[in-house]
Symmetry: C2
Subunit: 327 residues, 2 copies
Amino acid sequence: MYKFEIDKIVEIIKRNNYRVVSLQFPDGLRDYSTSVAEKIDEKIPALITLISSNPCYGACDLVDEDAMNLGAEALFHFGHAQLLKKSRIPVYYIEVRLPHSFIDILEKNLDKLPENLGLVTTVQHIHRVKEVKDYLETHGFNVHTGRPEGRCKYEAQVLGCSFSAAKSIASEVDAFLYMGSGDFHPLGVALATGKPCFALDPLLKEIRSLEEKKEKFLKQRYATIAKAKNAESFGIIVGEKRGQRRLSLAMGIRRKLMAMNRKSFLIHAREITPENIIYFRKLDALVNTACPRIVIEDSPRFYNPLLTPKELEIVMGERDSYEMDEF
Amino acid sequence: MYKFEIDKIVEIIKRNNYRVVSLQFPDGLRDYSTSVAEKIDEKIPALITLISSNPCYGACDLVDEDAMNLGAEALFHFGHAQLLKKSRIPVYYIEVRLPHSFIDILEKNLDKLPENLGLVTTVQHIHRVKEVKDYLETHGFNVHTGRPEGRCKYEAQVLGCSFSAAKSIASEVDAFLYMGSGDFHPLGVALATGKPCFALDPLLKEIRSLEEKKEKFLKQRYATIAKAKNAESFGIIVGEKRGQRRLSLAMGIRRKLMAMNRKSFLIHAREITPENIIYFRKLDALVNTACPRIVIEDSPRFYNPLLTPKELEIVMGERDSYEMDEF
């Protein structure tokens, strides 16, 4: 099992004399939620421990308000680094580190990488940055890491809505090396920086280039953008989640669409799923101002063409090149 | 299109000088949301109109907090009668009446009904109660209607979580006549009262008895109850929605389970769907303290046996006969 820092959690609860707490896990860790709750309960039998079962895709998605409404005095949010400054009840971030090592994969794949590398990763692997950087440097690579900016907390950290640590060093590197699984983050790095990005994947145990996926992705996105060019009516989606509310961006989009004689509606939503949005199928296109990941990963599942605000700028002729939507 | 009382809404907005409002529709009416928003916008061009796209199954499920967090000064909640007394911003209930008439179906089916009838319906058809009662009485029936209690607002009204208007007159009638479509409400009336219930269905244009469905339903429920009898671990689900929070009920259930040496966990959730609850598949059974309709209609879609609090009482040997979970 991952390390969930039970002793630290128990100490926080005892020190603050909390009687009701909520535990929030991202989808990938929620399988462990009952064993974490059980371990805490064993040490503090009088505690009322609530477990959130809502979808959770990031630290932007705190369940603090709902937990507070149920009487929780504190929230333990697992698996993400702190992102939001304000919360309704105290929020304790329990960053869960994944145990994967990257050195064995690197050993067999060093010939795939160019000399000047930018190293990036997500918070789960952030404790491996120094080790991987040192290993690469002893093998003749120049390794750069970018400072944390905005929503990020750590050197070399990227989020689905912030690639600043990569962008800040893009001019110094030949390519990026992303440590972690999945295509979403390394694809984002490649798109946000314009540089090639390699994924150092601890689950598939491989180093792969994202270039082909990037080309395929851009073709899909430009096809969606083309579809939206003749749209007469737009739905502008505003997220309700704590760290995803961008009403002023949505209102700016609406003003521009009105100036171009396009009809538009402001739609607010908590979970932006095809099932919740199907009621707006009569609208010719949708613009999502909440989590950028929804458009990038789920767009094909939606009935209407679904765009990011930056993609809408291409539709409106305000922008030429593709750009990631970042917070 | 249904009557959405646009003039009344416009007058409320103008009188209160609202600049930002949210419109909330139940799933069955959300298809009309953009045309309602458009009609309001035409009359008050400076207004910022937001449309909620979250699932909404009742007046217990107000989106007032989320709308307020986005800057809305008032919420227009369509299709349900007022249920909750408190809200974070002013809530205006726009009760949408369905146009269906019931007389033509009654005319052809009078021989199916017994002499002493209890008449019940949901708020969408409440304006037809008098007409149907008068028609039946001129044809020799004795028709009873129950007073509104608790969560209900109108004479003869039932909700998915309150059958009090039926229960209060059960001893005076041979059977109930439910005006409306779907099986959920008339099945609830039959189960809550122990009397036969007939559905007067304006969509299928028929009168049907719910007796067979009730038998089938009870068989399914007792099978689920039997499965839960040997359960060692339980998840107790607490709803986060405004009118579905029953933490004290959940805590009472947990105390009883602990006394019986059963393991249990308090799980809080906004939308209680199989997708959100799959993470708790290791638990032997679940008890849902939020909307009763989830167990009654969706139980087969869940991985774990899913029970109402009243069904759990049968599991624990505290109750013999089946009873509906009501608020």
